[in-house]
Symmetry: C2
Subunit: 375 residues, 2 copies
């Protein structure tokens, strides 16, 4: 079954929308934050913990699973859900972003066929094409697969961006033709760099091909916040209302709010688990770093009022002790809190949209979050 | 309340004994395996997971907690149970073993007063004495504290061993005098190296001082297995039947069986979590290393018939993938299996003792375990 998006309520004052997404593994409300499980696990966590945080879709990386353990192993295991013991929905990316960001020595050769590059693990020569990406994702058997695209760096000149954007559209067509998994959905990706006309062009052409959902790619690559928000606006203008919209790689709380305001439904980011390993915790008063000496004898939870497992059972002093002593349980407890923080954020956003007070909610949240009383 | 040991059944053919230990945090059956939570956490795991494995006492390290986060922080948190969110019983060691094994450059100066050494973290000069060890443990507020002793290396000459053993007895007396926590129990430790007369002497003198339980120290320091088993025999001969007996630092399945046969009730070891991080799993057919290529497409559990969370939900292929990709969840899943393996071992041992078939059980287990069909 292909995913089905239902628009349930549009905010009266912005483009924010509340909806539901039906998948082969349950129906979930949007806007939604999707935790990232790069290597078929959300680092340090088990599925039961993700479900206790009310996770819905989680994301896993085609590039990483292609290299380790290999898509054939996952297929023989019965697909990614069985392999990693997660019975909620899973989205796989196309591998494109990792090819561009992780390739050994960043050396890569982009041709019409695909991308030639060297493995970041052992340097061996690899070729990823739209067809290969679809083949791998079909075998991984995720609920949602992504088109193979080039994530254009920022800044990039107009000529290159145009050439790349047109090629990505050709790749999207080839990928759709090569896609063979009836149970799986396929999302297209809007590129076009920071050029408004190319974003419009990319969105219109991608929609013409026809996908089960649309992603906005190419953001969070070094452009400023204002440029990023404009890129979202430019992409979303031509996306159909009846399909889900996914802003790739975005997980900063303020950016999630800005994305929702512009009509985005899905977000993913490694941020909550990555900052956890460095001792950072999201709070409504801004990020805090638990290594700070002032938490040494702070026997309160990471965040007052948080319902996560960590905040219900542990103190800042204990988490600080684990992180400063390099105990991986510290990263695990912070990951639980940070993921739950972003899931709570979208839960609150969904209620605010339904009550037509998204603008107030956003302002209050950002005012408090950016004041950084925490640190 | 001091711990209370009740001898419930003695094996008809060996010195193996089945009993119960009443603590401030519940009553539990013995023989018992105690997982090690060095820095106020059993590496990668939370207390709920330990309880799901039927853990009882867990061990934490006085030396490590003294250095980080400091015993005063733990005391202000309400003691170790509150700090780490474990409501089962906790045993703290004296710090002696770590002082001898971890001191910076192994440089230490043992005087009658105590041990002068350098922190393994920052090299600063520290002094641990029997009084200081008791003060720290009293503040940590564990259920069971251990006497401060010298763990004699192997081999050691008779004169040195005698001198050290006598000093450990004086330290034990001083520790008992300095001990001020009515809720906490204090165990003595039998030393004496590998010399039978010194083991006898140490046991008798330690019992004369009078403790709530007795540990057998100084094993697993490089002596052979036969020497170790003799050391246990020599120590246990003079220990009172009505008190619990604890063989420190022993967690190899075969050694647990040999210890039980000689009348030991309590065991602890970092082995199950340490080998987990290197990809090793206990099975009844011997240890296996999950990195072995033959497990790449092995979609069976780590061990057939195991009731642990890992074996109930994951395959060898998945755990192998996590370990080879350096994902810490791999160590977590293996730790769960390995700890549960040792807890299942003592569960089976307890039943075998009650049914007077410990000797058969031991033989069958060792035959199968040492055949190593696994790898």
């Amino acid at each position: 079954m292909k995913v089905q998006y239902t628009l349930l309520h549009k905010d009266q004052h912005t483009n924010a929308r509340y909806g539901s997404l039906k998948t082969n593994h349950g129906t979930y409300e949007t806007p939604m934050f999707m935790p990232v499980g790069t290597l078929a696990n959300v680092k340090t966590l088990v599925p039961e913990e993700l479900k206790a945080m009310h996770s819905a879709i989680i994301l896993s990386n085609t590039y990483h699973l292609w290299l380790r353990p290999g898509e054939d192993v996952v297929q023989k295991a019965g697909g990614l859900h069985a392999f990693m013991h997660y019975d909620g929905p899973i989205l796989t990316d196309s591998g494109g972003f990792q090819v561009f960001s992780l390739a050994k020595n960043k050396k890569k050769d982009i041709t019409e066929e695909g991308v030639h590059f060297k493995s970041h693990l052992d340097g061996r020569n690899l070729l990823l094409t739209p067809e290969k990406s679809m083949e791998i994702q079909n075998k991984l058997d995720s609920d949602i697969a992504m088109s193979f695209d080039e994530c254009i760096p920022y800044p990039a000149d107009y000529e290159y961006t145009k050439k790349s954007t047109e090629r990505t559209i050709r790749w999207a067509k080839r990928g759709k033709d090569a896609f063979h998994n009836e149970k799986q959905s396929l999302f297209g990706i809007v590129q076009g760099g920071a050029y408004q006309d190319l974003r419009h062009y990319s969105a219109k052409e991608t929609v013409k091909i026809g996908f089960d959902g649309y992603a906005i790619g190419g953001t969070s690559v070094g452009e400023g916040k204002d440029v990023m928000y404009q890129m979202i606006d430019d992409a979303i203008l031509y996306l159909p209302e009846e399909k889900p919209r996914y802003l790739m790689g975005v997980g900063d709380p303020v950016d999630i709010l800005e994305g929702v305001e512009r009509g985005v439904d899905l977000f993913d980011c490694v941020l909550p688990t990555r900052i956890a390993r460095h001792g950072n915790a999201f709070t409504k008063n801004g990020k805090i770093n638990i290594k700070n000496a002032k938490y040494k004898e702070d026997f309160t939870p990471l965040e007052d009022g948080c319902d996560c497992y960590t905040c219900q059972n542990y103190t800042k002093a204990y988490v600080r002790h684990l992180i400063t002593a390099n105990e991986s349980l510290g990263g695990r407890l912070l990951s639980i809190h940070n993921i739950r923080f972003l899931i709570r954020l979208v839960e609150e956003i969904r209620i605010a949209i339904q009550e037509d007070r998204f603008t107030e909610y956003k302002k209050e949240f950002i005012d408090r979050y950016t004041k950084k009383e925490g640190d």
